[in-house]
Structure formats: C-alpha cells, structure tokens
C-alpha cells in the first residue's frame, strides 16, 4: 500500500524557489522556440532550394531531430561535444538540444503548411512581377506561418516539458533541477513533484491559451 503522509506546509515553503525555477524553464523554452523557428525556416528554404547539398543537410537534420529521443540530443550536446573539447554549460547544452529538436519538428510543420498553400499564390505573385525570393517572403511565408502557428504551439508546450530533461546535463536552476535538489535534501518526493507538475501544467496551459488569443487577433480574416 502507498504509505506516505503528505506535509504540504514544509513543501510550500520552497514555492518561491520553485517559481524562480519555473521562470528559467520558460526562458529556455522561449529561446529554444525563437532559435527553432529561425532554423526551421532556413531548413525549409534549403529543402525548397533544389540544391542537393543544402537539401540533404536539411533532410538529415529533420530525420535526426525527429527520430531520436530528446534525452539523447541533449546528452550529446553536453557530453558528445564535450568529447571533442567543446564545453557547453548545462544551460547552453539544454537550450541547444531543445532548439535542435524544435527546428526538426517545426521544419516538418512548415513543410505541411506549405502544402496547404495553393501554388497559384506564388504564381500570381510572380506574374505581378515579384522575384521568387520576394514572392516567398511576402506572399508564401506569411500564409505558411498562419497555417503552422497553432500546430507550432504544440511544439512550444513540448519544449517546456523537454526542459525537465536538463537534469541529465547538470542543470539545477530550472524547475526540474530545483525540484530534484529539494527532493534530495528532504526526501519529500511526492509533495515537490506534485507541485512541480502543477506548475508545468499551468505554464503549458497559459502558453496554449495565449497562443490562441494571439492567433485570434493576428490571423482572423
């Protein structure tokens, strides 16, 4: 039987520390999305370019990012690069791992979104005299973002949850790291993990709601 008496008062004393951790978590997730979107747009353009090397590079990235565990990607950013003498701090390793993952998934998102935009859009733009790059930047890309925006918020939520993997590379300032440490000191596992779960839930929910609000404001016809 589960034999455990909950002591919430003791655990709740640590709430300020955990909320500080939650800020770091959110910060990493946001940064990783910024980097992820930027790289994913580049990867999408590489794949559209028709250039074999660039296209192959983008495909390799997407394949690796989507078909290996995020845990492995983060571990490799820290210990894999470390083996070659490139030392990233836990923060940077975690950020790099998640950004790598995000870029892969978002590139696929964007590819799907592009498929949803009729070819006639680009052709109409070209026939108005726009060069290819301008047509892509001004006509296709904004529509691509509109289609991909809500699916991309999934990735944002996923990024928030992935930050908890930082503990494997020595991250101790984000929510999972702070929780682990509080747990190690006191052995009050279930209280701290329950509080952490609630905080993760609230952040993820807030992000989803905010994204819907933004989408409603920005993308209505």
């Amino acid at each position: 039987m589960f034999n455990y008496n909950f002591r919430w008062n003791q655990a709740l004393n640590a709430l300020p520390q955990m909320l500080d951790g939650a800020l770091v978590t959110l910060q990493i997730a946001l940064l990783s999305m910024l980097i992820g979107v930027t790289v994913a747009v580049l990867l999408t353009m590489f794949r559209l370019s028709g250039n074999r090397i660039l296209g192959g590079f983008a495909t390799a990235w997407v394949e690796l990012a989507r078909n290996t565990p995020a845990l492995f990607q983060i571990y490799m950013a820290h210990f894999g690069l470390g083996a070659f003498g490139i030392h990233l701090s836990p923060f940077t390793s975690l950020l790099a791992g998640i950004a790598f993952n995000n870029a892969g998934y978002l590139a696929e998102n964007f590819r799907g979104a592009l498929k949803a935009i009729p070819d006639t859009q680009a052709r109409a733009a070209r026939s108005l005299g726009m060069p290819a790059t301008q047509a892509f930047r001004l006509i296709v890309m904004p529509q691509m973002f509109r289609v991909a925006f809500l699916p991309a918020t999934n990735q944002m939520v996923w990024a928030i949850l992935m930050t908890s993997l930082g503990v494997i590379v020595g991250m101790n300032t984000d929510l999972a790291g702070v929780t682990q440490e509080l747990n190690a000191r006191s052995f009050r596992t279930f209280e701290f993990f329950a509080i952490a779960a609630v905080i993760y839930y609230l952040i993820a929910k807030a992000v989803t709601l905010a994204a819907h609000a933004v989408a409603w404001r920005m993308f209505r016809y």
């Binding site: 039987m1 589960f2 034999n3 455990y4 820290h78 210990f79 470390g82 083996a83 003498g85 030392h87 836990p90 503990v167 494997i168 590379v169 020595g170 101790n172 790291g177 682990q180 440490e181 747990n183 190690a184 000191r185 006191s186 052995f187 009050r188 596992t189 279930f190």
Partner: protein, 267 residues
C-alpha cells in the same frame, strides 16, 4: 453447513487481519527480501561483465537475506529514486549508501550506521586544482542527491565564487571531469579510487581529502516499522562483531576499516 463453513472462514480471515502483520513478518512470509541498491556507485554497487549486480551493498543485502532466511532480490534504484521505491512498496529495505541526515530521517526510518565514507577531491589534471581549497572559484560537480553534493554546493555558496553542477549519475560526474567540463569533484574516497583505477576516465587523479564530516550511511526502511528497524540495527551490530563487516570491507575497498561509532554519545 456450507454457509457456516464460509462464515467461519470469513471470521478467521477477519481475525487474522486484526493480528496485523508488520513488514518483518511480511518479508519472512513472502520469502523474499527486496533491497534498493544503487548500482552506479562502485565499489558499493555496480554490475560485472555478465550484468550481475556486485558490490559491498549487494553482499550486505545477501547477508541480510540469509539472516532472515529468505531470498534476496536486488532492485536497482538510482540515488533520487531510493525513497519513491520504498514509499511505493517496491522495496522493503534500502541498502543504498544513504547518509543519515536528520532532514531525511523525518521521512524514512534510519538504522545505526553500517558504513562510513571519507570524502576525497578528484581533479582534472589540466585544471590546476591540487587541494580542496584549490576548488574555490572553479567549476565543480558531484552526484545529485548525495551527501557530498549537498555539502559541496553549500561550500561553493559560502566561497561566493565558482559554479556547482549536479549530475544524475556518478559515471556522468567522472565523464564530465575527464572531459574538463568540470575542474574537480568531491566524492567518497572509495568511489574516487575505484573510478580512477578503471582507466575509463583519463586525465584525472585524486588530489586530497575534503574536510567534510565523516559521511555515516545507514540502511533505511519505513519509518513506522520498528520491528524491522530493530532487526536491522541488531543485524548491523552482528555484522561488525562477527568480523563480516571487516571481511567485506577488505574484499571491496581495502585498507583501514572505518569506525562506525561516534565517540562519547549513544545512538
């Protein structure tokens, strides 16, 4: 007739549940002792080439099972999972090199010490760290959730410079140390020597001792299981006076056997 029999059976079962069996009874009647052991912590716990758990803690669990007249089952638990494993009923006893801090004793029942660690500083040879004080201002790390990690992090805070990084496993700490991601670590001297000896981690060496208090470690069980805790205390006492403790120490560690008593005070 039949109903009387069923009623009798029911009465018997309800009587049996009144005479509540404690954890010690449960272990003996189940015939299996499930021990939480950390298998990432040589020489206390690790795996040999055929993936069989070996180490001081594994032998200690086997001895305990023999004393109880049951089979031992080694349940691998990384450091942070020791307590959840106990609380969720996956293990009966922790033989997991667990430091007996007062903070933790509020949650689990700790026995008298069954082993004691001295702390050693291991450094990357390129870091220039040659002593405990030399770690000031450097990037240091240790295994998350251990006594030495908690003590080292506090020391870094007290120095006010440098960085502390907790890694999830002892192997990751030594990997990070060997790669130069961290400059030095504090670990139990047994672990430090065992890891340096393996040759898996080039460029590191033990450079001195850390002036932390002796790290006494105890077995743990559910806090309210006095019957079991009482048995465990007596078992530890017997291990020492029968010479088995010294024998196991010689087998797995070697050198001077650490004293398990604190002078001038009873437990």
């Amino acid at each position: 007739m039949k109903t009387a029999f069923v009623a009798g059976l029911l009465a018997a079962t309800s009587l049996a549940s009144v005479a509540h069996a404690d954890a010690l009874d449960d272990i003996i009647s189940s015939g299996t002792l499930r021990c939480a052991v950390v298998l990432d912590f040589p020489p206390m716990g690790s795996r040999d080439e055929s993936n069989t758990p070996i180490g001081f803690d594994v032998d200690y669990c086997n001895d305990l099972a023999t004393a109880l007249g049951v089979e031992a089952e080694i349940v691998e638990t990384p450091f942070p999972e020791r307590i959840p494993a106990l609380m969720s009923g996956r293990v009966d006893v922790g033989v997991a090199s667990t430091s007996d801090t007062l903070e933790r004793a509020k949650t689990v029942g700790m026995t008298i010490p069954y082993f004691a660690f001295e702390m050693a500083v291991t450094a990357n040879e390129a870091s220039g760290v040659t002593s405990f004080e030399g770690m000031k201002g450097k990037t240091v790390g240790a295994t998350a959730g251990t006594y030495e990690a908690i003590a080292l992090e506090e020391q870094v805070k007290e120095w006010g410079t440098g960085t502390f990084r907790p890694y999830q496993t002892q192997a990751d700490v030594f990997l990070a140390l060997s790669q130069g991601q961290i400059d030095a670590t504090v670990s139990t001297s047994t672990v430090a020597q065992a890891n340096v000896k393996t040759g898996n981690f080039p460029g590191i060496s033990v450079v001195g001792t850390a002036p932390f208090d002796t790290d006494y470690v105890s077995l743990f069980a559910m806090r309210e299981e006095y019957g079991l805790l009482n048995f465990l205390n007596l078992f530890i006492n017997h291990q020492v006076r029968s010479g088995r403790y010294a024998e196991l120490y010689e087998k797995w560690v070697g050198g001077e056997v650490p004293d398990l008593t604190a002078n001038g005070v009873y437990r």
